[in-house]
């Protein structure tokens, strides 16, 4: 969450612009004053519809329009004959009633810059002013070892003509992580709690970061040197050492098996599998189990569902796209299970050709979401949406980037195909207009997000050029995005968090780790199973969720496993496995897992309650809510659906009650079926006593199963 302080502080800190001597530049001086005063912020005149009839472009991305709004003859906001009577001076100084209050004082530097500019004729130098090349902040990295500790940032602007200017008091400061530090509008940073943050510094249209780490040095801290399974642990440990936090111990085998099964396959292990694993004394049992889980079709089923949902493909569960979604689901599941390299997978999904019936991959981008936005967000972790209307306020992306990205898709036509009379087939093709022979030699220039350009034949499918870049010059971005997403899925938190917001102002918590994972994926030819395997084998992944004294308040650097509520699909499938009764879905044959039903409209209350999105306006991970809510609790505690499953004829409880004559065996079997572990001695004793006190053993077993199904241990991946 970006905390915007500029408006709050605008009154408190007198703004010093430049000495209003010499020629005042609209582009470099006036806009700096307006920006610092917050005039062109989203809450003020930078709002989409402006304020009080005065509209500026958001944060000054459109200088021409801003000049027109401010100084055109018919705008009435500058009075060239009597400059001091100009509205742009009288309103922000509150000489006239101003909804935004007083922004600066009469006679302040800001006031004098504007006044002098008007006196000089209020001229535009848009396009001719010396361009700002970049801004630097010093220090770019700071580390505070006390709380509070302060630091003053210094910001220098570098212009194209070689001129440098201290713009510390004109720059705008925002922090990325609330609470770690505070920053005022003079650039003074004060630490408030331990943690990491970044201060985003903006001046005119340039941005830079100062990254900060706040640690409280602990006397007598000694690094325990826990085992390192692979390079992941090395980078995690380096960071933990730096922040003086000890990692938790490695989790138990039962915890590992359940966690790995849920993360890799989306379902908990079967009781027989638990028993076999717990009795396996071999040193490499976890490694072998990871490989075995990756070889199951459950793996592809679980991961395909997530991609389908993120792309919005599963949303249109109407008859028009019924088969397309099913076949895409089947295709994707198979592609992931056969370990189709990620570069080839993405090429199929982003640049798939032909008919959705014959090539299900193209259905991936046949939905209501905009490809120009979903492709960068899904595969590059870039949220480009803001840049459709204005330059991104917290990132480097501009409207020009957005339009350039759109160019990769603008040439495409689509039509309903003939295979199904109900229009369920979509065909994708390069629009015929570009296919006339005399244009065959023409080429079109496309610009990638990194500014590099490529010229492609006008009749070619430009998406190929985009994917070429994603896995060529842009592969660093692509690799970081996917490893971060997979990491986030398995660890509960991204190295960049949120996982699909790899924003300039949202740096990774552990840059060396992210880079190493990305490099490793590229070296291993985009092998996703290798990535999952590498993560799962690490000690970091296998750490206990129980914190130690050292890491109790540490939640960002993977010092212990995160407790994660089961996703809607994991929960539905876990309940089905535990009770032996399948969840009924509105579509598809009975007996399918939740991840097999690629529709939001699956007809399951449980899925809806536990956060499977019912509509999706973007490819953002945030659309799916991981939160726990009261209706969820009520559904499990009081809901009929769960109770019916527990009591169902042929269900687990009936089966186990009939199979086990000894109460202790029955209790143990129920623990294995629901919690994927045997009960402890105490738990067993309590269970046996409860069964003995129950009206009937069957009823007692039902109650016990109900209690276990409502326990946090079942509802969370721990």
């Amino acid at each position: 969450m970006i905390r915007v302080l500029c408006l709050v502080c605008a009154l408190a800190c007198p703004v010093v612009a430049v000495e209003p001597t010499g020629a005042i530049s609209f582009t470099n001086d006036v806009m700096a004053v307006l920006g610092k005063a917050g005039c062109n912020s989203g809450a003020c005149h930078g709002h989409n519809s402006g304020k009080a009839g005065f509209k500026l472009s958001l944060r000054g991305y459109d200088l021409r329009a801003d000049f027109a709004a401010l100084a055109d003859a018919d705008s009435g906001r500058v009075d060239r004959k009597d400059p001091a009577d100009s509205l742009i001076l009288q309103m922000p100084t509150a000489q006239l009633e101003h909804g935004g209050g007083k922004r600066f004082e009469v006679g302040s530097e800001s006031y004098r810059v504007l006044l002098e500019w008007i006196r000089q004729g209020a001229k535009s130098d848009v396009g001719t002013a010396t361009k700002l090349r970049r801004i630097d902040v010093h220090p770019s990295v700071f580390e505070h070892v006390q709380i509070p500790q302060s630091e003053t940032l210094k910001v220098t602007a570098h212009f194209e003509d070689g001129r440098q200017r201290d713009v510390t008091r004109l720059a705008i400061y925002e922090v990325s992580t609330e609470g770690v530090v505070e920053v005022d509008q003079a650039g003074r940073v004060v630490s408030r709690r331990t943690g990491e943050t970044a201060v985003l510094v903006r001046f005119l249209n340039k941005k830079t970061l100062s990254k900060g780490l706040v640690v409280r040095r602990k006397n007598g801290f000694a690094w325990a040197a826990p085992p390192q399974h692979n390079f992941i642990d090395r980078f995690v440990d380096d960071k933990l050492k730096k922040i003086q936090v000890l990692p938790s111990a490695v989790c138990t085998d039962a915890e590992f098996l359940r966690r790995a099964s849920l993360d890799i396959c989306g379902v908990p292990p079967d009781p027989d599998e638990v028993v076999a694993f717990l009795s396996d004394a071999s040193a490499d049992r976890r490694t072998r189990k990871i490989d075995e889980l990756l070889s199951r079709e459950d793996y592809g089923d679980a991961w395909a569902m997530r991609w389908l949902e993120l792309s919005g493909t599963n949303e249109s569960g109407d008859s028009a796209r019924f088969k397309g979604i099913w076949t895409l689901s089947l295709w994707l599941r198979r592609a992931i299970n056969t370990n189709l390299p990620y570069d080839r997978l993405v090429r199929q999904l982003v640049a798939g050709k032909g008919s959705s019936i014959h090539n299900p991959a193209i259905t991936f981008t046949v939905n209501q979401l905009k490809r120009v936005e979903t492709v960068p967000q899904l595969f590059l972790g870039i949220r480009l949406q803001c840049a459709e209307c204005h330059d991104h306020p917290f990132d480097v992306w501009t409207q020009s980037n957005y339009r350039s990205m759109a160019d990769f898709f603008g040439h495409l036509g689509s039509k309903e195909g003939p295979i199904d009379a109900y229009g369920r087939e979509i065909r994708r093709f390069v629009k015929p207009e570009s296919r006339v022979p005399w244009k065959a030699g023409d080429r079109v220039e496309l610009t990638h997000l990194d500014g590099s350009r490529v010229r492609v034949p006008v009749a070619s499918d430009r998406r190929d050029a985009l994917v070429d870049w994603m896995f060529g010059p842009g592969r660093r971005l692509t690799a970081r995005a996917i490893v971060n997403r997979v990491w986030g899925r398995m660890l509960g938190r991204g190295i960049v968090h949120p996982v699909d917001d790899m924003r300039f102002s949202n740096p990774p918590i552990n840059e060396p780790l992210l880079s190493a994972l990305a490099d490793d994926l590229v070296v291993h030819r985009w092998d996703l199973k290798h990535l999952v395997r590498t993560i799962a084998r690490s000690r970091t992944y296998q750490q206990s969720s129980i914190p130690n004294k050292s890491n109790r308040n540490e939640h960002e650097n993977f010092s212990h496993a995160a407790l994660r509520r089961l996703s809607a699909e994991q929960l539905a499938d876990s309940v089905s496995r535990a009770t032996g009764v399948d969840e009924p879905y509105r579509v598809g044959p009975p007996g399918l897992r939740a991840v097999h039903v690629p529709y939001v409209a699956a007809g399951s209350r449980l899925l809806r309650l536990f956060g499977r999105p019912t509509e999706r306006a973007s490819a953002c991970e945030c659309v799916r809510s991981p939160d726990s809510t009261l209706p969820q609790v009520m559904h499990l505690l009081n809901g009929e659906a769960l109770w019916k499953k527990i009591r169902a004829a042929g269900g687990t409880v009936e089966r186990l009650s009939g199979k086990h004559t000894e109460a202790g065996d029955l209790v143990a079997a129920l623990y294995l079926a629901v919690l994927s572990r045997p009960p402890s001695g105490d738990e067993s004793g309590t269970g046996v006593r409860y069964l003995a006190a129950s009206k009937s053993r069957r009823e007692g077993a039902e109650d016990l199963a109900w209690a276990l199904l409502n326990s946090p241990e079942f509802l969370f991946n721990h």
Partner: protein
Amino acid sequence: MSLRLLSSAVLSVLVVSVAVGETMGGRGPLINTVDPPALIIGKQTTIQLVGRNLDRATHLLLPFAAKVRRSSGSVESTQFVVTVPESVDSGVYPVRVYGPSGLSNLRLICVGRDQVIQTRAAGNGRYRGGRIDLASALAVEWPCRLAGGRLSQDIDLFRFSVRAGQRLVFSTQTRQLGLTPDPVIRLRDARGRTLALAHDTPTLRKDERLDYTFQQAGEYFVELQSFGVAGWTNHYVLKIGPHEYARTVYPLGGRRGEVVDVAVVGRDGRVASRKVRVPSDTARDRWRLPLPDHPGSLSWAMASGSLPERHEKRMRGDGAVEIPVTDWPVTINGRIEEVGEEDRFRLAVQPGQVIRAQVAAWYLGSALDGLLMAWDPASETLLATGDDLRYRANVDPGLEFTVPPGVTSVVLSLRDTLGRGGITFPYRLTIEPGGPDFFLWLGRRQNPFENSGWERMDSNDTVTVPRGGQVSVRITARRNVKGRKPDDGYYKGPVRGFDGNIRLVASGLPVGVTAESDGIASGETAGEITFRATEGAVMLSPFEVAVFGEATRRDGTRLRRVAERMLFLSDPQMAHMPWQWRSQKLVGVVVPREDRR
């Protein structure tokens, strides 16, 4: 062969159409399902027809001579025992029933040599806890045709054994038989792991074919899951065997009455040539080619035309980029051989000429989704683009344009819209003079979801005439006159604009049956043709009648168009029935007067 071919073609085209007088409506026999929708050559098969008013449907109408016995009958179902003679080719054929209450709608049935195993009642196949329950599979021995049903919210699972290296072909016959299931074939190993998937094989529309070689001997499973709608015709045939099948044929048709050398390309690319005479019936523009040497395929839909035929390869010469077409009208048979290939034809033209070019490919089993363009090469001006006619729910393109002043040469180019190409991309390109034109539809448009609307439409492809009585059939003209409210906004093709009188005439009437019509007046879009049967007309002897619309353009050129069954995409029958089976002739029967209740 030609007789058999002809008889097949004759009744095969009868599908789904027609219109009859309102009197016919729901009173004649109506078939909903045929179970199994399969017959065995040389053996006796019992088929059950379920529908309405079947108690007096005493006869089965097949396009070949077969030994048929009615074994039972009630209002809602009737059974026939059918023995198909050895002389009949495997393939797909139309089937109807008739009797004193009239003639039924059309259903399709496949004929082949493999055993038919009815599995509808087997209840085989299910998932439990998200896993396939292999124990629920039904064991089968191949080669076989599995006749199943009720797939809409369920799966069917079959177990079979193979030896190492065995190659088997799994093919569904649903849409090819006008049935509603839209399956995915999934092949699983003995542990239930997916080995291969198939759905919607190009050239088979929504049917699929899975050609798989098993590396290891053992037990395997084949699973069917449908994504189609349910309904009465929720049946399927799954064929399993080491069958040779046809991937494509070339050419896709020929000129009426001429002998065509057809190359049938088998599953491994082996080409088998055969000479076939194209039916000379002018009322039909399509026929079916039996494929006795390719039992994995049903008979192939072919086109018949009236123009001279040429072949792109022979015209191309030494790699010419543009093929000169000096003699037209013509039908050019060609193929988009390579990915991204474009075939170009340069026409000698005169300014002011109206040129119509139409492609026939998709519904003749080609994978081509054509993009047709016409341009003036001298001025680099695009004259017309054709992509998707929407006519017959077609993807085959067509265009019509007037040659601009000063232009004496135009180029027509054809490529796949999706940029594909290969051996399965043959086409027919017909180039002829254009001008004002029209379509004729048999029957009236009706909301199929209103009451029993779809049944009415389904049944209306027959004419049942009471002896000594009469019945009228509605004929609709689709004129697409510019400036008028379009009579069908769906059609975007070149055939349009004729606004004059249209005479309606019937051809092929049997003795004792006459037809009269006032035609369709200028500016009108509908008329009627009335069939009368004399007291001496032969009863219960089905016949076929073509209805032609004849007209004269202002420039004196004459038009003769045959009436086809109306296409209405919401009509379930039309949505699922292969296009080739849409009637271009009425099927009629004369019945006793007293039975016309």
